[in-house]
């Protein structure tokens, strides 16, 4: 294993410490339980947004804390969901009284831990709602499995919701907006190489020199299928058409019912993309894929969208939701409307995403 680290068990803590030193005006950190949060939190009059998940996806989530994005982020060990005490303490720290929205990626562990945290926070009198992102079309739909994973749409949702929170959306409005973003966003990723979890010390999976893994998650978990390596254009074609041609997707997602005071399962259906849709196109590096390769993907994606009648009205290209040093990429398309475009353009100032300020 070749990494710029000290001891594997210290990676997350030392990373947090380094972030606090590098961005003192932007973020503060809390250790044990671990989280980082906006230096100016709690922000008066604003609903607080909290996300979290296993580490190893940087800049998501810890590097996406700041104006127009998250109020706090809870890092688990690498690729391991964080624990409820982290989300609970973070909620206490950043809640301004307007309530807290937990943004959860759909993994069994993340969902369980965040739901426990939500229950605990409510016990302490904090108004908490949750949204789940499950946008990975690589996972075959079913009402009876863990469902689709939360991937690229998470990054987009975090800024859109962050911008909306700055504009004064209520907790209820933010939860509704988050669910709208989720059903309109779809992603798929692929890997050319594996990555190495520091504590494991060796690659999570083995790929032959001429192989790639298509439909990969963000935790080094194997994907939809292993294939012979292809050109960038062919890979883009597979990812883009899997996203664009995907039919309606129905599943149940747990939501907190305030009146009942209990979790309820709500059935939700994604509308498929259709000709004439305006989209945000997001080309993401899995971490190890360098900047020179992403525009090659973007170029082909642009061509495919044009052919399919989708109009790219916004875009994002870079490393935002990664799997350590894994080489590969993911594509996310988010159907846009006027509200989303306006929120997307709003200022954001975090270590990992910044514009307008």
């Amino acid at each position: 294993m070749k990494k710029l680290i000290n001891k594997p068990e210290d990676v997350v803590k030392e990373e947090l410490e380094g972030m606090a030193l590098a961005y003192p005006d932007l973020i503060k950190i809390h250790l044990d339980p671990d989280f980082d949060y906006r230096a100016d939190a709690p922000v008066k009059g604003k609903v607080a947004l909290i996300s979290g998940g296993g580490s190893g996806h940087e800049p998501m989530h810890g590097g996406l804390v700041g104006h127009g994005m998250l109020d706090a982020a809870c890092p688990g060990a690498v690729f391991t969901s964080p624990t409820p005490d982290q989300m609970l303490e973070a909620a206490k720290m950043v809640n301004s009284g307007k309530g807290v929205l937990y943004i959860i990626k759909n993994y069994t562990g993340d969902v369980m831990n965040f739901q426990m945290a939500a229950d605990m926070a409510r016990d302490e009198g904090i108004d908490v709602d949750t949204i789940i992102i499950d946008d990975d079309v690589a996972v075959k739909d079913s009402l009876y499995t863990a469902g689709r994973r939360g991937v690229g749409t998470t990054v987009l949702a975090e800024h859109i919701l962050g911008a909306a929170a700055e504009k004064g959306y209520t907790l209820q409005e933010l939860a509704a907006l988050g669910r709208k973003v989720n059903i309109n966003g779809r992603s798929m990723g692929m890997a050319l190489t594996s990555c190495t979890v520091p504590a494991a010390g060796k690659p999570t999976f083995e790929l032959g020199e001429d192989e790639m893994e298509v439909g990969i998650g963000i935790h080094g978990e194997p994907g939809r299928k292993r294939m012979k390596i292809m050109t960038a254009d062919e890979i883009t074609e597979i990812l883009a058409t899997s996203i664009i041609d995907d039919g309606p997707y129905t599943r149940t997602l747990a939501q907190w019912d305030k009146d009942k005071g209990d979790w309820v399962d709500v059935e939700v259906t994604d509308p498929p993309f259709k000709k004439g849709d305006e989209v945000l196109a997001f080309v993401n590096s899995m971490g190890g894929t360098p900047d020179i390769e992403l525009p090659i993907i973007y170029r082909k994606l642009h061509e495919i969208c044009e052919k399919k009648g989708l109009k790219i009205v916004r875009n994002l290209m870079g490393r935002y939701i990664t799997s350590l040093e894994m080489q590969g990429c993911s594509i996310t398309l988010l159907k846009m409307d006027d509200e989303l475009k306006e929120l997307w353009d709003a200022p954001v100032h975090t270590p990992g995403m910044r514009w307008g300020m």
Binding site: A77, S81, P84, T108, V139, V197, A200, G217, H219
Partner: protein
Amino acid sequence: MSENETTITKDDIVEWLKATAAVLEENAHYLSELDAPIGDADHGINMNRGFKKVMSKLPNVEDKDIGTILRTTGMALISSVGGAGGPLYGTLYLEAGKAVRGKTELSANDLVNLIEASLKGIVKLGKANIGDKTMVDAITPAVEALRQSVNNGNSLIEALHSMTDAAQKGMKDTIPMLAKKGRASYLGERSIGHQDPGATSSYLVLKTLSETIESRHASK
């Protein structure tokens, strides 16, 4: 028949937890390896981290009742394991603790109740059915076997053996299963042919209970 009246003491439980911590440390690598092909290669690391935390909390409650000890174990796991394993194993011990609240000694029947409560908690939280390729596939037959053996009037040690054997079989039975819950479910057909890491750690936890009681009983 007098054997069946063997009881499990608070100290047995403390020893079980210590032995579990040692067994999970020993098997950390193995469990993560099992998690690699159908998950994210962290199950052993997670469980090991969790039981280290349990070990650090144990001294504070070693002289409390069994319920308190198990609840403390559950809380420590929830706040340190993370992943799916954290809430699930946390719930396992929390529910176990609730089931024997205040007790400092457990009869064979208490043990049956304890493990049944644990299983119920896990199923309520994770909504896994038998055959979904999860820890539920190891614990369910184990509970069944334990209860039956106790009801048949076998000795506690014998009952624990039956439980362990059933857990082991349940664990092995996960190999041909197609995963329906947790991370492995993303793989669909490709999850077939791999032993579930959570079922494996559950087997180890139960086996360690059996071995601890047996060895402490023998040495008495």
